[in-house]
């Protein structure tokens, strides 16, 4: 039987060295007695010095002097990290279990992650318990300011974790409180962070640092943020178990807060609403109204845009962000009409800024059509969509919606009085000419709107984005460009 006594400080690295040496010798798991003893009694300290920084968990894969390749246990990285975490549990059997599991994993007797195996299950459960304890330590350590030596401020805390996890838990504080010196003392091990270096030592005297002035402000905050109308002591205790209360400055307030809650709620219920608002309130509200009143638009286009913005002629205004009115020079010779704003247009409040808009702009530039001189708008002014997780799926507006929105399109046409309108796609063609079908046969032709305005019918640029076949897409793009060029010639 082999006896291994591990030190109280830096226990896990010592276990790691011992386990590696034992495994190399081929010592079976049931032939080792593990215990934690004096901080210095490390039988296997060997080549590594105490206080050396912990090695990365890839250690079992590394070549070691004197260890034959065959005898070296090989474990998945996740297994090593979890086993080392479970070694911070308070269970006295943890060292033996971990060594046994390392041997069984490396011999292939058990697969890592197999929860039907008892050792794997226990190690996972222990690692989880340690993880929770570490998390609670990160949450519940309370620093108090203490006199510092140099330019760095100094803080100290006393904490009692359930498991010996200080060495695993405190690097977090080094990352978080990098510009101050601090000490976290626990019943056995003390972590010390001075001038940017973290080290561990055996705790000499368990002492709490004296209270500092900010603690009273913290208690004020704790008492005020509590809502007496929803007392849930069980929920609180589940997350902040009583065993931590003795080192939390705010916990002393809990009994009084809970006792007083009912009286406070009754007082709120009894207090009748004020019969009349205080006169000051009326003055404030008048100020708010004055502040929020928007400036009257100066031109007809601005007035129309505002009216469109307030439209509720159909149900589409509910889920959409905003109506997207047309934009362009007031008396543009050309009016380009799309189907409806898409995702990007809905967010930005401007027409043709999304992917299809970019296709339109690119092709128009190639075709010599100046879109800056055109009035850009849509047959329907709100985005119709169906929510799917984090995306919005475009939905085609129905006849009723197109009809409701034609009111605005007609007003825009009356305002701009274009010499030519370009209908992009069936919805726009329907809204402008009254007939939306048979688009592919009509494309490229110039028709007449009921009021006589010439309408050039073509496809919607989003169609070009949807064609999977490259050659076909190129061909379609060229035809679209031709249609736009025809529009350019018509208004030249």
């Amino acid at each position: 039987m082999r006896a291994v006594v591990l030190p109280e400080v830096e226990t896990v690295p010592a276990w790691r060295r011992a386990a590696r040496a034992l495994a190399a010798e081929g010592v079976p798991a049931d032939a080792v007695l593990w215990s934690v003893g004096e901080a210095t009694a490390d039988l296997f300290a060997g080549g590594e010095q105490a206080g050396a920084p912990p090695r990365t968990p890839g250690y079992l894969d590394q070549e070691e002097g004197g260890t034959s390749r065959a005898a070296r246990p090989r474990l998945p990285r996740a297994a090593i990290d979890t086993i080392e975490s479970a070694l911070c549990h308070s269970d006295p059997e943890r060292f033996a279990r971990a060594y046994r599991l390392v041997l069984r994993l490396s011999s292939g007797a058990v697969a890592w992650g197999d929860r039907s195996d008892r050792d794997v299950r226990t190690v996972l459960a222990h690692a989880k318990a340690v993880g929770r304890d570490i998390h609670k330590m990160h949450a519940f350590v309370r620093f108090r300011e203490v006199p510092g030596g140099g330019t760095r401020r100094a803080f100290a805390a006393w904490f009692e974790p359930e498991h010996p996890c200080v060495e695993r838990a405190t690097p977090f504080f080094a990352r978080r409180f990098g510009d101050m010196d601090w000490v976290i003392a626990t019943p056995r091990v003390t972590a010390r962070f001075e001038a940017g270096a973290l080290r561990f030592e055996a705790t000499r005297a368990g002492m709490r640092p004296p209270e500092d002035a900010t603690e009273e402000l913290w208690r004020t905050y704790y008492a005020s943020i509590f809502n007496p109308a929803r007392v849930m002591v069980k929920a609180m205790c589940a997350e902040m178990p009583r065993k931590y209360w003795k080192n939390l400055p705010e916990a002393a307030l809990i009994p009084e807060l809970v006792r007083g809650a009912e009286t406070r709620v009754r007082a709120m219920a009894a207090a009748a609403p004020a019969p009349v608002a205080p006169p000051r309130a009326e003055k404030l509200r008048a100020a708010a109204r004055a502040l929020l009143a928007e400036a009257e638009p100066v031109d007809a286009a601005g007035r129309l845009a505002r009216e469109i913005g307030a439209c509720a002629r159909c149900g589409l205004c509910g889920p959409a962000t905003q109506a997207v009115p047309g934009e362009g020079p007031a008396h543009a010779a050309l009016m380009v009409v799309g189907e409806q704003p898409g995702d990007r247009e809905d967010l930005a409040g401007r027409p043709f800024v999304g992917p299809a808009g970019q296709v339109l702009r690119a092709e128009a530039a190639q075709a010599g059509l100046d879109l800056g001189a055109a009035w850009l708008t849509n047959a329907v002014k709100h985005f119709k969509f169906a929510p799917r997780g984090k995306r919005r799926i475009h939905q085609r507006p129905d006849a009723g919606e197109v009809e409701a929105c034609r009111w605005w399109l007609d007003l825009e046409r009356a305002l701009v009085r274009p010499r030519l309108a370009v209908a992009l796609g069936a919805t726009a063609a329907g809204a402008l000419t009254g007939r939306g079908g048979d688009l592919l046969r009509r494309r490229g032709g110039i028709e007449a709107a009921p009021d006589g305005t010439p309408v050039l019918v073509t496809v919607h640029p989003s169609r070009l984005l949807r064609l999977p076949d490259r050659a076909r897409a190129e061909e379609e793009r060229a035809r679209f460009r031709e249609d736009l060029a025809r529009a350019a010639r018509a208004v030249a």
């Binding site: 108090r144 401020r153 929020l292 409040g349």
Partner: protein, 410 residues
């Protein structure tokens, strides 16, 4: 006016802030102060540093800059006509409180909101100054959550997103009509436009991909969230959830918070006398999770009344209404089918799928995989287990609902 001490202001302005449910401090950029030149760290999962007896976590210093307000929102304790005590922090006071609380490990950072004073721009400008001072003067690398004022100018929102990890704008009410009734100065469209603006800026701020292929946003890296008040108006749960799914799809929100309307001191006349059961809030969160992580659609959740069952969770309620889709064979069911089994969470389903590659999954393994068998057993078939008559049993619902209470005799 009498000069208030810092402690008095803190008491007033944290009391005024407690009706905002948001407390998250997770996600966003990874930062730390290991270089010794600043204070704080963030990124990864957040930490709840304390819990109040109301069961809510305390993760951030949640305060208002001021509770003076020119708006008259009926549900709000700080509305113009309310007779609460008023106070206002200076920029320096908020910065000092945040840093000193942070250094003592009380908090993860700051959640700053405010009443509207003078104008939305003035208010937003002061809030932005607080965030900038924390970042630039104090070298603060902890978490900052700023509430944005819907009608504040674009430049201010831009700067807010540069300093803050998260921005949020509350939609407050489930429908546009009730917002108009309860908060006459607020506009639903204005709120939606502000959220759209934040989404566009976040997307524009995404830079080259990291080694994992993600493109993190530099603008408000922890995203945006919102809150809706439940039970102040007559909206049913389905209306509320429909709004949420639209919001998630439209603005890429990280979270929608549901806050059961809570009685406040000096209530307005427009408010109902009784608050809704807190269980309703809980069920809404459960349903929200089903929408986001379990592949449920809004139309599948809740009964014909549009309300969620208060006695049983929405997933079990759905399973009871669709018994024809069960039992699901744990060894054959697809991920989508397994996710619909009551008592199976996303992690459990992942473990089951992984374990199936090693061999058949047996009933007795399911507990170690995280399944809640009391819920799941009637709905599954596994190695060594078949529900037999359980699924058809008339009394199946009674196994999940709390026992009926006898009325008190006195």
């Amino acid at each position: 006016m009498v000069k208030r001490t810092l402690a008095e202001k803190l008491a007033i302005l944290s009391d005024a802030a407690k009706y905002d449910a948001s407390c998250a401090s997770s996600g966003g950029e990874r930062r730390d102060s290991r270089d010794g030149k600043g204070l704080g760290s963030s990124g990864g999962s957040g930490i709840c540093h304390a819990y109040a007896p109301d069961g809510r976590c305390i993760s951030l210093l949640k305060i208002l800059m001021t509770n003076f307000c020119i708006y008259e929102c009926a549900y709000c304790i700080n509305r113009a006509s309310s007779r609460v005590e008023r106070a206002r922090f200076s920029v320096e006071e908020v910065v000092r409180l945040t840093v000193e609380f942070y250094r003592r490990n009380y908090i993860e950072g700051l959640f700053l909101s405010s009443g509207i004073i003078r104008s939305p721009d003035d208010t937003m400008a002061d809030m932005v100054r607080i965030a900038r001072t924390l970042r630039e003067v104090e070298g603060f690398r902890g978490y900052i959550h700023l509430k944005t004022i819907p009608s504040a100018s674009r430049e201010l929102i831009d700067e807010a997103g540069r300093w803050a990890d998260r921005l949020s704008i509350n939609v407050e009410m489930p429908t546009e009509a009730s917002l108009a009734d309860y908060a006459p100065e607020k506009s639903a469209q204005g709120i939606r436009k502000a959220m759209a603006e934040v989404r566009l800026r976040r997307e524009a701020s995404r830079e080259g991909p990291t080694f994992r292929g993600k493109r993190p946003a530099r603008f408000a890296p922890a995203g945006q969230s919102t809150q809706v008040i439940v039970g102040a108006d007559a909206a049913c749960d389905r209306t509320i959830l429909t709004q949420s799914s639209t919001l998630y799809a439209s603005y890429g929100l990280s979270r929608v918070y549901y806050s059961a309307f809570s009685p406040i001191p000096d209530p307005a006349k427009a408010l109902p006398l009784k608050p809704p059961p807190l269980m309703r809030e809980h069920r809404l969160y459960q349903a929200d999770w089903l929408l986001r992580f379990y592949g449920f659609g809004v139309e599948e959740i809740g009964g014909s009344s549009g309300m969620l069952d208060l006695d049983i969770d929405p997933k079990t309620a759905w399973a009871l209404r669709h018994r024809e889709r069960f039992p699901v064979d744990v060894n054959r069911g697809s991920r989508e089918e397994l996710l619909r089994v009551p008592g199976f969470g996303t992690k459990t389903v992942g473990r089951i799928l992984a374990a199936r590659r090693r061999g058949a999954v047996r009933y007795e393994h399911l507990k170690a995989m995280g399944a809640v068998l009391k819920k799941a057993q009637a709905f599954i078939v596994a190695g060594g287990w078949s529900p037999h008559g359980l699924l058809e049993a008339e009394r199946l619902r009674a196994r999940f609902a709390p026992a009926p209470e006898q009325l008190a005799l006195f």
